[in-house]
């Protein structure tokens, strides 16, 4: 793959993922006590996607370019670590309740993100039903 093409794939995927995250931030409400549900949803969906895409690439269902665009681009752009840590730090500093919400947010994000990768890999690792036309 040419370097310029690889850069283009990562850029297009990253832009798509970031816009999807922005739309999630608009439509998914922040829960009571400031629990950042929008970022959690973005991170869990991206984890599911990266596991799924990686398993399919491992099975050689998808080529290197597609894999680069989906995992490094879309999943990487959709998920965010900086907003995750910053939101946690703001909650922590706010109040005692905020600190508890922050702890719950970190724990839930880590567990759900990890489980999402495993589930994504399982689904991506399944063989497709053979289509009746082939």
């Amino acid at each position: 793959m040419k370097l310029s093409f690889a850069i283009l794939l990562v850029f297009v995927g990253g832009a798509t993922g970031a816009i999807a995250r922005e739309l999630l931030m608009l439509f998914v409400p922040t829960l009571s006590h400031g629990f950042p549900l929008d970022i959690l949803v973005a991170n869990v969906i991206a984890s599911l996607l990266i596991g799924f895409s990686t398993a399919r690439h491992n099975r050689k269902v998808t080529n290197d370019g597609w894999h680069l665009m989906v995992t490094t681009g879309i999943a990487g752009g959709l998920s965010t670590f900086s907003s995750f840590t910053y939101a946690t730090s703001v909650l922590m500093k706010a109040s005692m309740t905020g600190a508890l919400v922050a702890a719950a947010y970190v724990l839930i994000s880590l567990v759900m993100g990890y489980v999402a990768v495993i589930i994504g890999m399982k689904i991506g690792g399944m063989r497709e039903e053979r289509s009746p036309h082939s």
């Binding site: 990562v10 984890s47 998920s79 910053y86």
Partner: protein
């Protein structure tokens, strides 16, 4: 939020993702250990910068429609969101665990969160000092 904001987020997200990919390649060429150093360095540096810039831009986390909306869309949601990654961190951890490095996987996740949190706090403190 306007169509222009969506464009800014897309532009920033694309640029941040390319930067992440590029740094990941550079680190990968130099460091061959099991620890996912590239993603770790990316996430911690991104956390430091978001803490610093959020205070600098005076971003009110509950009201994203106030002052600094353009910079917020382009730099914070776009560039920093695209640059840092939660999904690659989880994939790295799952790969380590599958390769009989479960303890390193747990250590990596906990260290990432602890260091990222400290970096975000340090970034905010740095910006506060300059006011």
């Amino acid at each position: 939020m306007s169509a222009a904001d969506v464009m800014l987020v897309g532009l920033g997200g694309g640029l941040g993702s390319v930067l992440r990919w590029w740094i990941g390649r550079l680190v990968g060429e130099r460091y061959k250990g099991h620890f996912p150093l590239g993603t770790f360095l990316i996430n911690i540096s991104g956390s430091l910068v978001i803490g610093y810039l959020s205070v600098l831009f005076n971003v009110d986390w509950d009201n994203r429609h106030g002052h600094g909306m353009v910079l917020n869309a382009l730099v914070i949601t776009g560039v920093l969101g695209g640059y840092t990654t939660f999904s690659s961190m989880q994939l790295d951890a799952a790969r380590l665990a599958a390769g009989q490095h479960a303890r390193l996987a747990a250590f990596y996740l906990l260290l990432s969160v602890a260091a990222g949190l400290l970096a975000a706090l340090a970034g905010a403190a740095l910006a506060g000092v300059q006011d």
